[in-house]
Symmetry: C2
Subunit: 149 residues, 2 copies
């Protein structure tokens, strides 16, 4: 499927019923992924039009990997596929929010953890440091990704 | 405060205790904002180093407005200031997640609604359309933003 061009009319963009995603100068929208069960934030990634269309058409989350420069079916290697329960977009339609049920090990991060957001930022005496929340790997990345470059 | 340059060592970036945000080619990190009470996704915005430092130093969310090209203390006009309860970052440190308590009308979207994500994407017969979740404005944007350009 193709997506219509975004309306130049702000009211139409914000209050209308047409889904007209606003891809940025790199042809991407930001995608926020949360667990459809408990709402935990799992990851943030990016989608081009092809990844977004495939996500809608298959109900399985697809992204654009900026590091690899290629389409990325999340979980294709690890088995941690994301089934989409709901998609939302924001007021100006440059972000999509996916509520998903994760398969496999229920682990979204490539480090093996459930979520990519496993560290809090602590700010004290003018310095910011990271503290782990204690979550550990649910699969062994070295084994799972062994055959990948 | 200044942020140290990100480590080129992947293990250090992903498992270390140094907060070294990875600003993109526009000098921004993506910021996901959720309600610290019920976890609702409220908005997605962007921060440059100044906005991130101010957020850490003051405990109040600051962003970089890409449309206005200026620092943006969220809620400065509307009163819907965001007090930060917790900040997290993701595995490769190019996203920050703010859990916040919103003041004022407890409304984050400039349309007056609680969240910017007030529409679901419905996919049927190869077509995607938007459906409102029924949330309505908690303040009148035309009155609140009347003196802004």
């Amino acid at each position: 499927m193709d997506f219509p061009a975004p309306s130049a009319d702000k009211a139409e963009l914000e209050e209308g019923v047409a889904f007209t995603p606003r891809f940025d100068s790199n042809d991407l929208v930001t995608a926020v992924v949360t667990d459809s069960g408990d709402g935990e934030l799992l990851m943030v990634a990016y989608m081009n039009a092809e990844a977004l269309a495939l996500t809608l058409e298959t109900g399985i989350a697809h992204f654009w990997s900026r590091s690899r420069g290629s389409l990325w079916k999340k979980g294709e290697t690890s088995g941690n596929v994301q089934r989409v329960a709901e998609i939302r977009t924001d007021c100006d339609q440059d972000v999509v929010w996916l509520k998903v049920k994760v398969g496999g090990h229920d682990a979204t991060c490539h480090t093996g953890r459930r979520s990519c957001f496993y560290r809090t930022v602590q700010f004290e005496d003018g310095n910011a440091t990271l503290v782990s929340d204690g979550d550990t790997a649910r699969f062994d990345p070295e084994t799972v990704y062994a055959h990948k470059a």
